[in-house]
C-alpha cells in the first residue's frame, strides 16, 4: 500500500486528525477518498505518515457540533479504530460525510472490495487458493469414515438444509429416512450432524438447531437420530444435549413451536442449558464495552464499573464455560455431545469451535485455525454478511459473535502461552479481514450463497505472511494435551490489544512477542549464514585439496 492510487475521488487539504490524549500533538494533513480507502496523509518535515482506512471497516460516520476550531467528523471502525477529524470548512466536512456514508455502506454484494481486489494472481492460483483449506480433508484427519461415522452427500445440492455444507458427517446407522426426517423436525432443517470426532475416546461433538418441539410435538426420526449418535459411541451409554441458551429463552421458543428436547421422549439423553445470551444482548454489550474503551482518561473505578456493566467479560466467560463443558464431557466422561441454540449458527458455532480447540492441538496451529473457521463457521452457515453488516441491511442482525470466539481463543492463549502456534497478531488480522471483505471467504451467509468464482481466498495470503503470526513460545511437545483452562472470573482479562488496538499509548512499550520474533528471526538468519559458511568452507576445502594446497 505504498502510493496513493489514481482512483482518487476527492481530496481535502488542511484536515486535522485529533489526538485524543494530547491536543497539541494533533496532526495536520490531507484527506483522500479513493474507491476503497480513506487515506489521511500527514507531512511533517521529511516524515510522511499515511493512515489507511478501508471503507468497509467504517461502521459509522458522525458529524459533531461545530466548534471554534472547525467542523469535527467522528469515524468509528469495525476494527475499533476511532478517527476524529477536524475540517476547516463546513462544506468539505459535509462532502466527506456524504461520500463516506455512501462508500461505507454498499448495497449490493458486487460493490464489495473483494470483487475489485486482484492480488495479481492468475486464475489457476486463484482456484488453488480456494482448495487450500478443505473440510473434507479434516474429516479424514479425524478418522472418517470409520465404523461409526460416515460422510453423507445427501445435502450436495443443499436440498435438505440450505444453510449447511454439502458434505455432512452422520452416524453410520442413521438411515436416509432418519436424516431427512430429523431435518424436518429442526429449525431451518439444520439437523444433528458431526462437528468433531474425538479419535481417542470415540466421543463426538454434534451440532444442530433447536427442535420444533413446541409444547407437545415429537418426531420419531429425530429421536432415532439422537439414538444413532448415542450408539455411535461405544464408550458411553448416554449423550449430552446442550442447549447453549438461557433456559428462559428456550422456554419462550416453545410457545412458537420451537424449543428444546423433552428428556422423556429421547432415550438416554442428559439435557443441559448453558445460558449464553442472544445476539442482541451481545451487540449491546459490545456497544457498552466500546463506550468504556473510548472514555478519555477514566478513573479505575469508572473503568471497572463500566467493564462490569457492559457484561462483556460475563458473556465471554459463558461461552468459555460452555466450551469447557463440552471438552470435559468428551475427554473425561467419553460422552458424545449434541449442541444447539436457536438456529445453531451463532452460539453453537462458538461453543463447538472452542471445544475443538480445547480438545485437538491441530486447531491451535496456524493452518488448523483456518480449517476450524472454515468448518464450524463458514461451511456451517454462520451469517457473516449479516453479523458483520457487510451490506446496508438490518442493523439488528449485526452481532460480534465471531469476535467473541476470537477473544475466547485469545483468553486461552493468555492462560497457555506455549500451546498456540500463532500469536495475537494472527487473531487480530483474521478479525480485520472478516470485516474487510477484501477476500471472498466471509462474504455471504452460508456455503450455498458463497461465490468463489470472482474473489480470492484469504487463507493462502495469511499463510504467505505466517512469519508475522508465529508464536515464538510455541512448543510442539506440549501440543498433545487437552487444555483445561481456569474459568474463574479473575482469569478473564480485558483484551486491550483488540478493543484499544489503536490506542498505542496503552500497550506495553516493549513487546515480548516482537522481541522474541526478531530474536528467532536473527537466530534463523544466523543458522542460515552458518550453513552457508559451512558450505563455502567445505567448498574451499574441496577446492584446496583439488589444487593441492594445504589449508593451514
Amino acid at each position: 500500500e505504498g502510493h496513493i492510487q489514481t482512483l482518487r475521488l476527492d481530496c481535502v487539504e488542511y484536515v486535522k486528525l485529533l489526538n485524543k490524549y494530547a491536543e497539541k500533538k494533533s496532526a495536520l494533513g490531507t484527506l483522500y477518498l479513493t474507491a476503497t480507502h480513506l487515506i489521511y496523509v500527514e507531512q511533517t518535515n521529511n516524515a510522511r505518515t499515511e493512515t489507511w482506512v478501508l471503507h468497509h471497516h467504517i461502521v459509522s460516520v458522525e458529524k459533531l457540533p461545530l466548534t471554534a476550531s472547525g467542523c469535527p467528523l467522528l469515524i468509528r471502525c469495525k476494527t475499533f479504530q476511532l478517527l476524529h477529524l477536524l475540517f476547516q470548512r463546513e462544506r468539505d466536512c459535509q462532502d466527506v460525510y456524504q461520500s463516506l456514508l455512501r462508500l461505507s455502506q454498499p448495497v449490493k454484494e458486487e460493490e464489495l472490495y473483494a470483487f475489485l481486489y486482484n492480488p495479481h494472481q492468475n486464475e489457476e492460483d486463484r482456484r488453488q487458493g480456494w482448495e487450500f483449506i478443505s473440510v473434507a480433508n479434516d474429516f479424514s484427519r479425524m478418522g472418517l469414515s470409520n465404523d461409526y461415522w460416515e460422510i453423507s452427500h445427501l445435502n450436495k445440492n443443499y436440498e435438505i438444509c440450505s444453510t449447511y455444507p454439502s458434505i455432512l458427517g452422520v452416524p453410520k446407522n442413521a438411515s436416509v429416512a432418519v436424516v431427512t426426517g430429523s431435518a424436518k423436525f429442526r429449525s431451518r432443517g439444520r439437523l444433528p450432524v458431526l462437528s468433531y470426532y474425538h479419535k481417542d475416546t470415540k466421543a463426538a461433538i454434534c451440532r444442530c438447531s433447536q427442535p420444533l418441539s413446541g409444547l407437545t410435538s415429537r418426531c420419531v426420526e429425530d429421536e432415532q437420530m439422537l439414538q444413532a449418535i448415542s450408539q455411535a459411541n461405544p464408550n458411553c451409554p448416554f449423550i449430552y444435549v446442550v442447549d447453549t441458551r438461557p433456559k428462559l429463552n428456550a422456554m419462550a421458543n416453545r410457545a412458537a413451536g420451537k424449543g428444546y428436547e423433552n428428556e422423556d421422549n429421547y432415550s438416554n439423553i442428559r439435557f443441559q442449558f448453558q445460558g449464553i445470551e442472544n445476539i442482541h444482548i451481545m451487540r449491546n454489550s459490545l456497544q457498552k464495552l466500546l463506550e468504556v474503551c473510548s472514555v478519555k482518561s477514566p478513573s479505575m473505578s469508572d473503568y471497572l464499573t463500566g467493564l462490569e456493566n457492559s457484561g462483556w467479560l460475563r458473556h465471554i466467560k459463558s461461552v468459555m464455560d460452555a466450551g469447557v463443558f463440552l471438552a470435559k464431557a468428551v475427554c473425561e466422561e467419553r460422552a458424545s455431545v449434541l449442541v444447539h441454540c436457536s438456529d445453531g449458527w451463532d452460539r453453537t458455532a462458538q461453543v463447538c469451535s472452542l471445544a475443538c480447540i480445547l480438545l485437538d492441538p491441530y486447531y491451535r496451529t496456524i493452518k488448523g485455525l483456518m480449517v476450524l473457521i472454515e468448518k464450524e463457521w463458514i461451511s456451517f452457515g454462520h451469517k457473516f454478511s449479516h453479523r458483520c453488516g457487510h451490506l446496508d441491511t438490518d442493523p439488528k442482525e449485526v452481532s460480534p459473535v465471531f469476535t467473541q470466539f476470537l477473544e475466547c481463543v485469545w483468553q486461552l492463549s493468555e492462560q497457555f502461552p506455549c500451546v498456540f502456534e500463532f500469536n495475537e497478531h494472527y487473531l487480530i488480522e483474521i478479525h480485520n479481514q472478516v470485516y474487510a471483505c477484501q477476500y471472498g471467504n466471509f462474504i455471504g451467509n452460508c456455503q450455498k450463497e458463497r461465490l468463489h468464482e470472482k474473489t480470492f481466498s484469504l487463507w493462502p495470503h495469511l499463510l504467505k505472511n505466517q512469519h508475522l503470526y508465529r508464536n515464538p513460545l510455541y512448543r510442539r511437545s506440549l501440543e498433545s494435551t487437552v487444555l483445561r483452562p481456569s474459568t474463574l472470573p479473575l482469569h478473564f482479562k480485558f483484551w486491550c490489544g483488540m478493543y484499544n488496538h489503536y490506542d498505542r499509548g496503552m500497550h506495553p512499550k516493549q513487546s515480548v512477542l516482537d522481541q522474541l520474533l526478531s530474536l528467532t528471526q536473527k537466530q534463523e538468519e544466523g543458522e542460515r549464514t552458518m550453513t552457508e559458511l559451512q558450505r563455502v568452507s567445505g567448498f574451499v576445502v574441496v577446492l584446496s585439496v583439488w589444487r593441492g594446497i594445504r589449508l593451514t
Partner: protein, 515 residues
Amino acid sequence: MEFAELIKTPRVDGVVLHRPFMPTVEGTLCLTGHHLILSSRQDNTEELWLLHANIDSIEKRFVGSLGTIIVKCKDLRVIQLDIPGMEECLNIASSIEALSTLDSVSLMYPFFYRPLFEVIEDGWQLFVPEEAFKDLESMTDEWRLSEVNKDFSVCPSYPSLLTVPKDIDDESLCKAASFRHGGRFPVLSYYHKKNGMVMMRAAQPLTGTNGRRCKEDEKLINATLCAGKRGYIIDTRTIAVAQQAKARGGGFEQEANYAQWRRIHKAIERSNVLQEGLIKLVEACNDQSHSMDRWLSKLEASNWQSNVKEILTTACLAAQCIDREGASVLVHGTEGTDSTLQVTSLAQIILDPACRTIRGFEALIEREWLQAGHPFQQRCAQSAYSNGKPRSEAPVFLLFLDCVWQILRQFPCSFQFNENFLIMLFEHAYASQFGTFLGNSVAERLKLLLSQKTVSLWSWVNRPQELERFLNPLYEPNNLVIWPSVAPQSLLLWEVPLQMHEMPKEHMDCEISMC
C-alpha cells in the same frame, strides 16, 4: 522461653496435605520451634517447610475424628492439613497459633537460622550510605553527608547518615527536624544526573492550625533550587486530608512561606485503608460464586487497582517534574514512611536505569525503604487472612512491588530481573530466615544486632546459583527514562502473589530462555 513448652504434639503420622494445583501428599507432620514440616519420606515428593511466622491465621474443622486445619499464610498461600485424631489436631492447632504469634523479635527464626552456604559477599555491608554518597560526589559538590542523626535523636526513623544541601548546617537541620512530623526533615532521595535536578523526601510540616513556619526548613529546601527556578512539592494526600491534618498539628507548606514552590496534591490512600483493600481483594479472589459481575464489583470495591493507578500516576508526576520540567521535587505525605517512599522509589525506577538492574534494585530497596525507615515489622506483622485486630499493618510494600510489576510488564526488556524477584521480595518481607526485613528502622536494627546475629537476604540472593532464577532473559540495558501508561486498560491485576494460579510464569521464562 523454650519453644518445646509451646509444642504439645511434636509429630503426627498419616497427615494429608492439600495445596491448590498440586497433588496431595501424605506424610508425617512435625512441629519445630520455627517450622511446620510435612514430609512423606518418599523420594521425589516435595516436602513442606512452612515458617510459623508466615502463618496469618488458621481454621479448624472436624468430621468425626478426622480434623482439618486450614492454614492461611501471610504470603497469601492457603494449605489444608487433614489430621487423624481430634486431640492431635487440637494440639497441633493450638501450637501453631502460639508459635505464629510470638511477639518478641529476638525469638524470630532469623536469629536461629544458620546458612548452609558460605557467605562470600556480606549483604549487610553492601549498601552503606557512604558508598552511595561517593557516587553522588562524582556528579555534584552541592551536597554533604551529615552526621546530625548519629545517635538517632534528631529523627528516630532516619539512618545515622543523611545527604543534605552543603550550605545547610546541622543546627538548621535540627530546627527543620523539629518542624517535621517524626523529625523527618527534607533529605536527598535522588539526584538526576541528566539535568542536576533532585528529588527530596520528608514528612509533613507541623504548621498546625495557626500556620507555624520554620525559616530553616524553608531555607533547606530552597537551597536545592537554582536561581529563579521553581520546584514542586508533591503532597501524596488530597488537599482535604492535608487540611484535616492541621488540627492534629500537621499540615502542608503555605504558598506564602514557600513562594518558590508549587504544591500539587495527589490522592494516595493511607495505610489502614490499603490494608482493608488487600483483605477485600483476597476475599474477592476466593469468592466461590464464580460470577463475573461479583468479581468485577468486588475488585472495584477493593480499590486495589485504583491504588496501583494512583501511586504510579504520582510517581510519574514526580518523574515528569524532574525530567521534563527540569524542576526539583519534594515528596511527602503525613509520616513520610509509606506513600512518600512508594512515590520516590517508583520515580527512580522510571528515571534511573541503574534501579532496573538487580543490584540497583536491591540498593533502591535498602536506600528508599529499609534505611529510609519504612516500618516493615509493623506493616507486615499480619496480612489479608488475619483475624486479629489490625494495628498498623498495611500492604504498602506489596503495592510498590505491584507497581514495579506493572512497569516491568510494560517494559519487559528494560529490567534485569523478572517477576520471580518481586515475588521473592514480597515473601521475605512477610516471613523470612533472613534478618533484612526485621525491625522498623535503622536504629531498631542496630539495637537488635541484626548484622551480627542474622544473615542478610542479599548475602543469599546475590549468589550466582540463586540469581539465575531471577534473571530476565530479555533484558537489554537502556539508558532511557521509561514512562509507563497509567490508563486503567494498561494496568493488570498482578495475579501471582494472589496464589490463584497454577505455576504458569516460570514455565514461560524457561521457554524464553531456550530461545
